[in-house]
């Protein structure tokens, strides 16, 4: 349980948000040309990192906007929050 600083609304309780999983997974541009292995990689395989992870969140019970977050999954500390389309912070 933690507080999330929504880039649109400010600091709110985590229970107002829903997590959309790993960020920056790019939808294949030419889906018809993908092999089964590539589909599996896109659909199912996840980094599932213990440590600093980039992920998508949605302020479901607030502004309902999506944004990205950098969070350490080993202690739930949030390092950065940035809007969709912005470059992920380099650290």
């Amino acid at each position: 349980m933690f507080l999330i600083n929504c880039p649109y609304c400010g600091e709110r309780d985590q229970s107002e948000f829903s997590c959309g999983g790993e960020a920056h997974i790019i939808r294949p541009k030419q889906p018809t040309e993908l092999s089964d292995d590539q589909w599996a990689e896109y659909l199912f395989m996840r980094k599932n990192i213990k440590g600093v992870q980039f992920e998508r969140w949605n302020h479901a019970h607030g502004c309902r906007k999506w944004f990205n977050m950098v969070r350490d999954t080993s202690n739930d500390k949030i390092h950065a929050v940035y809007k969709m389309g912005e470059k992920p912070p380099v650290e």
């Binding site: 349980m1 997590c19 999983g21 395989m45 980094k47 599932n48 999954t73 739930d76």
Partner: protein
């Protein structure tokens, strides 16, 4: 068996005030090389080692555990055992485990306190009723005992449930598997550890795996906090940390690790003599032999390795519990904890070879691994020893995420395992 536990050994040791019981398993230093290494000393890992030694005669093996045995999800679950799964593959897997559970105390000469008190799954809306009836029929076709109970029969079987039609999610009926029940989870780890140790398996605690050494496509050994250990076969049974170990070998798995919470109340006199689960409101409850209510809550919907979990998840579960069991309204909760569960996209486990020779994974048990412990160990041991899956775990291979042949229990049968 060297130190067989019996009424006679109990009497004999009573004379020395129970001060001379022998240590049930050893505390060896790791050897330089093993025939096989199991990473993870939980129930599944210890069971795997036990069956490797017992059925496949592999005695020169080790179980590496970074903490203490049974200290992870084995000691954090709500101890429920059942096999009433919808799909044939799952039914085969979980009922294989249930059949082993039924004789496990005798086989291990260790009382795991297996109690077939029945598991009841409640239906709260018309779709639940249809789904659960379908599951009941599927179970019976697979030879698994299952019956449908109407609301009155539910009330008769467990009188403290509020079956009033006026509650937010009224009880419209339920299924009952009478062979299902609970077991003492720590004892399962201890019993398997004692059995494996007796056959020569080294159980090495406080030994964290730091890396996996590969030579091309073949594993060569593991780097650990106690030095390098050579081996040609590695079985990974690391639950929530499976992805971390996979990463060491350069593999990616279709898993997400999330905290799953449970809690127990203060101990009270016997009040509920079965296990009642409700998927729709996500609450399940049973009573331990110590008298505590054992309550299972849900998972947090984000990846975390913190073994804590969010308060709102517990709050949601307790709200549902109180509506179903108003009698618990003044109970005090004693302890709450979280375990890190590794969840597959189809909510079914992976017991599989990988494309790296000698590297095997038993993971993805998600929120319901405890019930499968003996079957999982047996089938994983078979897979490691023969380098081929047993027919009961063939469907649970890693390749199903490429072929698309998923075992989709998530949508079909059991959100709460």
């Amino acid at each position: 068996m060297k130190n067989k536990y019996s009424i006679f050994s109990l009497i004999k040791n009573a004379f020395s005030l129970h001060e001379n019981w022998k240590q049930a398993w050893g505390d060896p230093e790791p050897k330089k090389e093993y025939e096989a290494i199991i990473i993870g000393g939980g129930g599944h890992g210890l069971a795997t080692a036990y069956y490797l030694a017992k059925k496949h005669n592999m005695r020169n093996i080790a179980v590496l555990e970074k903490g203490w045995i049974g200290g992870g999800n084995t000691g954090r679950n709500t101890t429920i055992i059942r096999s009433n799964y919808l799909w044939d593959a799952s039914a085969g897997l979980y009922d294989h485990a249930l059949k082993i559970w039924e004789n496990l105390s005798q086989e291990l000469n260790y009382n795991i306190m297996f109690s077939q008190r029945g598991v009841m799954n409640l239906a709260h809306n018309l779709q639940d009723v249809r789904d659960l009836k379908r599951r009941t029929h599927a179970n019976r076709l697979n030879g698994i005992d299952a019956v449908w109970l109407n609301t009155d029969q539910v009330k008769e079987f467990c009188p403290i449930i509020n079956t009033s039609p006026d509650i937010r999610y009224p009880v419209l009926g339920g299924t009952l598997q009478r062979r299902a029940g609970t077991a003492r989870h720590d004892a399962v780890a201890w019993g398997y550890a004692r059995g494996a140790d007796e056959m020569g398996v080294d159980i090495i605690q406080n030994c964290e795996v730091k890396g996996i050494k590969r030579n091309g496509d073949q594993v060569e050994g593991v780097e650990t906090s106690k030095g390098f250990i050579k081996t040609k076969k590695i079985g990974v049974v690391a639950a929530g940390h499976s992805s971390v170990i996979a990463n060491m070998a350069g593999l990616k798995l279709p898993l997400e690790s999330k905290p799953l919470q449970a809690l127990v109340s203060e101990p009270v006199k016997p009040i509920i003599d079965t296990v009642v689960m409700s998927n729709a409101v996500h609450a399940y409850v049973s009573q331990s032999d110590k008298g505590e209510l054992v309550i299972g809550a849900g998972t947090d919907a984000y990846v975390s390795y913190t073994q804590r979990g969010s308060h709102d998840v517990v709050e949601g579960t307790l709200k549902a519990i109180l509506e179903l069991y108003p009698i618990f309204s003044r109970m005090k909760m004693l302890r709450q904890w979280g375990g890190i569960v590794d969840i597959c996209p189809d909510a079914s486990p992976i017991i599989s070879k990988t494309n790296i020779k000698g590297l095997y994974f038993n993971c993805g048990w998600g929120t319901g691994g405890f019930k499968a412990t003996p079957g999982s160990g047996d089938l994983f041991a078979h897979t490691i020893a023969n380098d081929e899956p047993h027919k009961l775990n063939a469907a649970f291979n890693l390749n199903r995420f490429v072929s698309g042949d998923l075992v989709d229990e998530h949508g079909a049968a059991a959100v709460a395992h």
